[in-house]
């Protein structure tokens, strides 16, 4: 079965091409690019908010995009159970829009950081990680200046208690100071996932490894 997916493009998005390419490469079906100024979404199985610097990351990362015209439609889709994946800037937008709890603060080192990290699958039962093994450690690049996940102690406890931490930075590779080494989290219902690293840049041998594929394959399996 093929998956209908779409990638939302905001002014300043810059990994939309990477994501469109990865989705087509892995799912075999051409994803749609969705323009931020639209107010409706087509029928989709997966909506991706991709990486980049929407609105230049001005004010707060993701803040302006989160209040954009397309967002009500995305909130509605999330309510209906459509899978929503936010990568990097997409994760920041989901937090600002209230679809995920918490915020992504400045990296603890205060610098933008682009490097390969190791990710540990903290919950392999989610729609976004099911093709990995529980506890599996995989390679993935990060590239961000604000990826330092922060939330209040109660929310953190809930996230941990409900298995909503999907991915963690492993083996001392936390690049940004995130609480509990959090790299990716889910909403309560489990259909919205946000993560800072870029699995879409780790899908072909020439990328150095193909460890990111399983993330997309997980969604593919989940919606099948």
């Amino acid at each position: 079965m093929s998956m209908k997916s779409g990638v939302v493009v905001f002014p300043g998005s810059n990994r939309e091409r990477d994501m469109l390419y990865a989705l087509e490469n892995i799912t075999g079906a051409k994803p749609q690019a969705i323009w931020h100024a639209d107010t409706e979404l087509p029928e989709l199985d997966l909506v991706v908010l991709c990486g980049g610097f929407s609105y230049g990351d001005y004010l707060r990362t993701g803040a302006i995009a989160a209040r954009g015209h397309i967002m009500p439609a995305i909130v509605k889709a999330a309510d209906k159970g459509v899978r929503i994946l936010g990568i990097c800037n997409g994760f920041q937008i989901l937090c600002e829009a209230g679809l995920l709890p918490g915020v992504l603060m400045r990296n603890a080192g205060l610098k933008f950081v682009c490097k390969e990290v190791k990710l540990e699958v903290a919950n392999a039962k989610t729609d976004f990680t099911r093709k990995y093994a529980q506890g599996q450690v995989w390679r993935c690049p990060v590239a961000h200046g604000d990826g330092n996940y922060f939330t209040d102690p109660e929310t953190l406890k809930r996230l941990e208690g409900e298995g909503r931490v999907g991915l963690r930075y492993a083996e001392g590779t936390n690049p940004n100071g995130s609480l509990n080494d959090i790299a990716g989290i889910l909403n309560e219902r489990g259909n919205v996932f946000g993560m800072m690293p870029h699995p879409e840049n780790m899908i072909e041998p020439m990328n150095g490894a193909t460890d990111g594929r399983a993330l997309f394959e997980s969604v593919l399996e989940a919606v099948a």
Partner: protein
């Protein structure tokens, strides 16, 4: 009408920039700095001339966009004329 909106981090919210500045001030030889917190300051020029209305609009802007009320507080100040 001119106005200022101050946006500051709530108590207890991590402030990596403030922390880094504390450290930097220390290494520049400034002692006795107990803490630094970094916030934002918006200088806004409005067409509105009625202070009450202006204030209401600025509060709205702060809530809807300028501050992330999960982690930030804001305060609106109008320039007296």
């Amino acid at each position: 009408m001119k106005a200022r909106i101050k946006v500051t981090l709530k108590n207890g919210v991590l402030d990596p920039q403030g922390k880094a500045i504390e450290g930097a001030l220390g290494s520049l030889g400034f002692s006795g700095v107990a803490s630094v917190r970094q916030g934002k300051l918006f200088e806004v020029e409005l067409d509105e001339t009625d202070p009450a209305k202006a204030k209401a609009a600025l509060e709205e802007m702060s809530k809807k966009l300028l501050a992330n009320t999960v982690i930030e507080n804001y305060a609106v100040e109008l320039d007296e004329k």
